[in-house]
């Protein structure tokens, strides 16, 4: 049975790493209309008829850092479990700290990401289109507006992060769940015996 704990934690760590990559590569919010598109994530990309420009959005580094820390704690949990098992110790209590830290961190990353994505989508929607400010000499400001571009939250990163968070959460509470199930089975066996 401890092997299944370790597999679950390892799978959770893998999912967290996958979501790190996806969050880094894919946008959180997209808006596009004829000839134009804006994608905002860690990488911000704006394409217009006059070209494509790319930059970074630093606040999106926060979920990356949180996910990296979550992956670190999950992997440390796997490693420590192996060591403890070699020493012949039970691992229920010893590993709970690392696993729960991984769960906290991945939940924090998911919550932060959802809020930022919602705020960005809301911020882009006020002109009912895609709007980009640019400086024009003599003007207070200029604004390029492309109607018909609805900002939407891009779901794949959100889905993968949700699964990763759920798996870290599952890995952190699984030993207790398993113990409870075993105790219930034992009780049922005694009752029937």
């Amino acid at each position: 049975m401890p092997t299944s704990d370790r597999d679950l934690t390892r799978a959770a760590a893998l999912l967290v790493i996958v979501s790190m990559v996806i969050v880094a590569v894919l946008p959180a919010v997209t808006a596009s209309a004829r000839y134009y598109s804006i994608e905002i994530g860690l990488i911000v990309s704006v394409s217009t008829p006059t070209g494509v420009r790319v930059s970074l959005y630093p606040p999106m580094l926060v979920p990356e850092v949180l996910l990296a820390a979550a992956a670190f704690y999950a992997l440390r949990g796997v490693k420590e479990e192996r060591t403890l098992l070699k020493e012949g110790k039970r691992t229920f209590y010893e590993l709970r700290g690392a696993r729960s830290r991984a769960a906290y961190l991945s939940i924090a990353a998911l919550s932060y990401y959802i809020v930022v994505a919602l705020e960005l989508a809301h911020g882009l929607s006020y002109l009912r289109g895609l709007a980009v400010f640019y400086g024009s000499p003599g003007a207070l400001y200029s604004l390029l507006v492309v109607p018909g571009a609805r900002p939407t939250i891009y779901l794949p990163p959100l889905i993968v992060m949700t699964i990763a968070s759920a798996s870290t959460l599952m890995a952190s509470i699984w030993p207790e769940v398993r113990r409870a199930l075993e105790a219930a089975e034992e009780l049922a066996r005694r009752g029937s015996g």
């Binding site: 134009y36 704006v46 070209g51 926060v62 709970r96 289109g129 980009v132 109607p147 509470i173």
Partner: protein
């Protein structure tokens, strides 16, 4: 705490992360401005009132995408005062004529230029702060006695038809520091003037007259308030114009 997952801590983590996300977006919104090569640059190079019309020169340069049509809106204190459209605009200089509202004369107004891009590729909104100048002046130039009645002569330049009256007019002998006419010299009637430039004679009724201090060769100071009501298609608009002049 035994190191296991605590739901109170999990809730706390979510709250902190949500607040952190809100703060991050509030103070570090994504900067898209430098990323977009503008379709073109717009500038309002000249905006002048000529008569009761407002002439506006719109300069469009560096056209990566051609502009198709333009709508210009003039706003004062967040309220649209004037609007005009051009069905065809070109890259370069474009002239636009619109009505001149008296509310705009001598004020800083926001000029909003909306240029649509060819092929339905969206539009560009540009905001400018511009002073609206229009030749407009009212001035008391002279007061003289006509058949024993004081008459004030007013020079004017107005872009609109206007109704003019005078109040609180004072004529002072500057050499003797003595009031000739004054305290409450008001015009006995209102005068109507058309758009353009001219002179106007308005008879005065004064509460105080001291003709003894009138002497040829002395310098006289003329002060007064000119009450102007512009009569325009936008409605009537009144304002008081102070006037100070010297006459011999």
């Amino acid at each position: 705490m035994d190191g296991g997952l605590n739901f109170f801590y999990a809730a706390l983590v979510i709250v902190v992360a949500v607040l952190g996300g809100l703060v991050a977006v509030k103070f570090l919104p994504p900067r898209l401005s430098g990323l977009v090569p503008p379709p073109f640059y717009t500038n309002v190079t000249n905006i002048t009132g000529v008569g009761d019309r407002l002439l506006l020169s719109l300069n469009i340069t560096q056209c990566h995408v051609r502009p198709e049509s333009a709508t210009v809106l003039i706003e004062l204190n967040g309220r649209a005062i004037e609007e005009a459209s051009l069905s065809e605009v070109s890259c370069g200089s474009n002239n636009l004529t619109m009505g001149l509202s008296p509310y705009l004369v001598g004020k800083f107004a926001i000029v909003v230029v909306n240029l649509s891009l060819e092929g339905g590729r969206g539009y560009v909104l540009s905001y400018f702060l511009r002073y609206i100048y229009a030749a407009e002046s009212f001035k008391i130039v002279n007061i003289s006695l006509v058949n024993g009645t004081p008459v004030a002569y007013v020079s004017y330049t107005t872009p609109f038809r206007a109704e003019v009256s005078l109040s609180d007019v004072v004529l002072i002998n500057f050499n003797r520091s003595s009031t000739v006419f004054g305290f409450s010299c008001n015009s006995t009637r209102n005068a109507f003037v058309g758009p353009g430039t001219g002179y106007l004679a308005l008879p005065l009724a004064c509460s105080y007259e001291n003709l003894d201090v009138l002497s040829p060769g002395d310098v006289y100071q003329v002060r007064g308030l000119i009450n102007v009501t512009y009569l325009t298609p936008y409605g009537n608009y009144s304002e008081g114009v102070g006037s100070l002049a010297y006459q011999r």
